[in-house]
Symmetry: D2
Amino acid sequence: MRGFGMRSVGNIGWLEKPEPQCGPLDAIVRPTIVAPCTSDVRVAQGWASPRTDRILGHEAVGEVVEVGELVTRFRPGDLVAVPCVTPDWLAPGVQRPRTIGHDTEEEGSFKFVGYKDGVMAELAHVNQADANLALIPDGVTPEAALMATDMMPTGLRGAEAADISFGETVVVIGIGPVGLMAVAGSVLRGAGRVVAVGGRDVTCDLALEYGATETVRHAGRSADDLASRIRQCVSEVDKVIVAGGDAAALATAVRIVKAGGVVSNINFYDQAASLTMPLVDWGLGMADKDIRGSFCPGGGAQLGRLLELIKHGRVDPTKLITHKLKGFDALPEAFDLMAEKPPDLIKPIVYL
Amino acid sequence: MRGFGMRSVGNIGWLEKPEPQCGPLDAIVRPTIVAPCTSDVRVAQGWASPRTDRILGHEAVGEVVEVGELVTRFRPGDLVAVPCVTPDWLAPGVQRPRTIGHDTEEEGSFKFVGYKDGVMAELAHVNQADANLALIPDGVTPEAALMATDMMPTGLRGAEAADISFGETVVVIGIGPVGLMAVAGSVLRGAGRVVAVGGRDVTCDLALEYGATETVRHAGRSADDLASRIRQCVSEVDKVIVAGGDAAALATAVRIVKAGGVVSNINFYDQAASLTMPLVDWGLGMADKDIRGSFCPGGGAQLGRLLELIKHGRVDPTKLITHKLKGFDALPEAFDLMAEKPPDLIKPIVYL
Amino acid sequence: MRGFGMRSVGNIGWLEKPEPQCGPLDAIVRPTIVAPCTSDVRVAQGWASPRTDRILGHEAVGEVVEVGELVTRFRPGDLVAVPCVTPDWLAPGVQRPRTIGHDTEEEGSFKFVGYKDGVMAELAHVNQADANLALIPDGVTPEAALMATDMMPTGLRGAEAADISFGETVVVIGIGPVGLMAVAGSVLRGAGRVVAVGGRDVTCDLALEYGATETVRHAGRSADDLASRIRQCVSEVDKVIVAGGDAAALATAVRIVKAGGVVSNINFYDQAASLTMPLVDWGLGMADKDIRGSFCPGGGAQLGRLLELIKHGRVDPTKLITHKLKGFDALPEAFDLMAEKPPDLIKPIVYL
Amino acid sequence: MRGFGMRSVGNIGWLEKPEPQCGPLDAIVRPTIVAPCTSDVRVAQGWASPRTDRILGHEAVGEVVEVGELVTRFRPGDLVAVPCVTPDWLAPGVQRPRTIGHDTEEEGSFKFVGYKDGVMAELAHVNQADANLALIPDGVTPEAALMATDMMPTGLRGAEAADISFGETVVVIGIGPVGLMAVAGSVLRGAGRVVAVGGRDVTCDLALEYGATETVRHAGRSADDLASRIRQCVSEVDKVIVAGGDAAALATAVRIVKAGGVVSNINFYDQAASLTMPLVDWGLGMADKDIRGSFCPGGGAQLGRLLELIKHGRVDPTKLITHKLKGFDALPEAFDLMAEKPPDLIKPIVYL
């Protein structure tokens, strides 16, 4: 079958691979809409461990075409959303209250990026279908469900890990699609003032629509300058969510958050970066500023709850979609868009 | 000075009392708008320990007229909101992470109801002003701030204690003004489906406006019947907030909540009631259903954060206000309204 | 094969049943030591839904004799401990941070008691072996591991749910084997003073050995009298764990715990009981006293961590074992011991 | 009066200062035993903001000699322990569940080091005595109480913030007196295996006595080498507490902790240090490894609970005391000991 991905680091294109086999607990899904993600681009650029001959893509909705003989909750023909994180729920690591979804090693359950072929393909394999798929309910469009496979859970997890209390002031640094969902998620956790730090009109405008009370431009500012600018806006910052930017973004976050506050990171850094903690701003270790490094929660039940949020009108993630492309052959163009991020782009999707 | 309250259990009316004295940490506030509360009515009826010669009322905004010599953050002329719970922040009991605001014994920090004269008076005494008052910021009306002194913190606390995750289904039983704020609070914590159980058109309509996805009428239903009716609506209830009703309401809540769920109580029961737990529905003790009995969090900083929520448009509590009365002499009428609850009443306020 | 259990409510004895079949994810274990539990006795007496022709028993260590073809972490010959709660980890219900191990309905994952044949048999079936078995590590005796299948996780869960902070005062009501583990667990969460409420010398003595600072006898006391007696001992009770007693035990707990405290229930009540909440002591709903109804956490990873506690000498659960019986034919005698609870009994075990 | 402290950065010695004045909420305490702390040494060396003419010392027990007219819980003659962190409990910042004790800015409530004269003096001023002092109960020696003013709360807070579940594996890096209390605290939160990383026989031996299961020497190892050495010991590390070392200690902690784990920092870093996060080990931001920067909780109620722990024999912090000096004039020698850390020193105390 045909898929789009990386032949090796820096070398992307079409791949021809055998069709995936369906194990007894698994499902085979035919993706109908997919969305490339910045992390696909970065993996192709070699940010994580180098991979070869790997189909990319981890955001998809589609139709179930086959299920294993032990699968009881899904059957061929079901319209489903596939979460980007699909843990092995029988691994010991998942039996932990704090970190639903880690199965083995770091990002081990982020299988489509790390460990197997992804969803930008004619067919995709989903491990443990009963636990890792979600039916798309009435009242939720496939496009909205697609946004619930990665953009929404990652952004909302950022807000959840920030441990927001009613009325607190939250700063979101980086407002690509994940950061925009962190803005919406902060409002949905009860934040009062929400300051969105971004670089483009299109994202700043949407941040305001999702409930940000003001926006700050980061373009051309040094970390010190940015921190000062944010502090001019808000005298006390309870929580910061870092959803974009380079290593300086984390340093800025630690600097501006109040003693006793939380920095919630959902950003993915270049491994070549050097992330230096601002020691004085961290109170030489004693300012009680937590730095939480979150990870998108996995599994179908979690995704199903996000679909409920959409169904009941709490948030409309389809506003993220700025570009709709048609046909399998449009995958390279969509991938390029994500890599180049033109001024009007937030998130492209491709109807296969 | 003149105040309105209880001479003894069942005997309410005007009281003439000496003006309150301002201790070094305290403030004297002249209430400008007050709101009677169902708990005032119940205390007057003798639900809690009997009191005599006590001015009632614990919801007020007003003007600071005097501050003690150790007060640094407020001064005469400040327009402030007075929280209904005003802890002694120097008592050992408040130094606990789980229960901000309990100072000594049960409800010890709910001083206006339990331990001293209330705010339906020409002047009111506020202990530890620096910690227990909040300035009304620009962009917040006094009426909105008034709703943030008890209705909003109690309702939102119910939602907070329910420990709602994104997309969960929440049932709110009892949608007087506190329950309506629990509906709004559930939405602000990220609930998906929200079922409001009420008895009157006026509250059911406002529940939908605050984000309930459907309403169920309790009128004339037995506990069993009500539980069945709710379960017809929703197959799985993650969290229940009990904000009204008699002892059967709690039993209904325990019955309908899922194993592993939470019942968050912010209801005030008649001490004559007999509250029987439905043992089988509680899994004979093993269904992992928590029953949390919350209490309105106290203090000025907490109130200040709620005012931020209002200021930034996250919730408009003034929709609760159905009746506006003018003048000190209208206090008895407002109190009677709260006692009789005519069909069109949610919350009356009185401009003094 | 032969097993010991209930033919119907009130009718216990030997059962002859077909050998269990091993599904692809499962294991068949030959129990080598088992322990009857009070809940076996109660199920046989009809406390829960009536069952017929059911082998009882849910505490076992044994040898793996067969594994399904999808099992990767265990193989025949492994010496394992079998947790009493064995969830279906692919069910949506387990993907929740708060309640690791609930799979479907109430107690749905407590399969050996509720839904299938138990371990007092020649062979026992374990669902999802990779997730639900634990190897017994070097340095842990089989007898100690046996105590980690139910007594220890249930008792320790009671302490965990009580949310004990360093130095707090904890009262444990009911000190059978689970309550004794709640005493040990309270000490292992950092409790200061620990008051154990029991009825027999043998359990009171062992409570002191596990770290209780004093004991109170409940025998012959009314709920009021017991509450007064405990309050004489300790002026302020931060947390209460209820691990035994009738419905009055819960009422006593709610009475004695401080405002802002927690009552953690791990007791299993007679469904014929009437559990009346002491409303005044619950502050008419507003005393901020949480009542948490816990459930033994399930799965092999959880059990494995308890075996680490034993291995490193943090607690010795074998002190619970007062009676050691030999041979399959001793099962009825062990069961009778658990039903009759002679003065010197805490926990009997049977070597098969 | 006479005190010992810093005239300016790098210049320590005797100071002659006026006696402290007692405000209405305050107390004046005559220290009877004090202990110098590494942070006194570091402040004198200029690690934090430069101070001049400041008496040092923040660990003391003593006798109350005067109380303000609003103090109700203490009186002259009381034997008390003075916590190192003495918040202003009327400041808005303390009304937060997550961070009991922060009043204003970073470390603002760590007044004895940062904002006023310390306890190595003839008299010491304690703000808000009712909230910030603790009586030494019967059964607790003054020496033990002295260890509960900073060493014990800081170490135990490190364990608490590490969010240890029963049976987890904890590594403590740096086992000076605070790190040793973190070892004891980990055991008291239910850790299974506890690996202590230290550099001297005296501390390694005491770590084993406090419940460490093994020790690792850091001396002469690079960060990489140390991480490898610890990983040889333990294949999976659930939680790490950093209680000493330079910036490399934090990097080592992030490296060795499992995905989904927590690094709990209670170390105080040199502001000249450069703290570089190991990005790859942090999963490029996505490994779900929290880095919590704790701060010693303040106040008398917290200290009182630690005294309960000591009283009931849960931990004996007097084992930390290796050197006992007599007389006011011994303060410089004690301070030098803390600065030079001879091989046999853990903690010196001085009887004034």
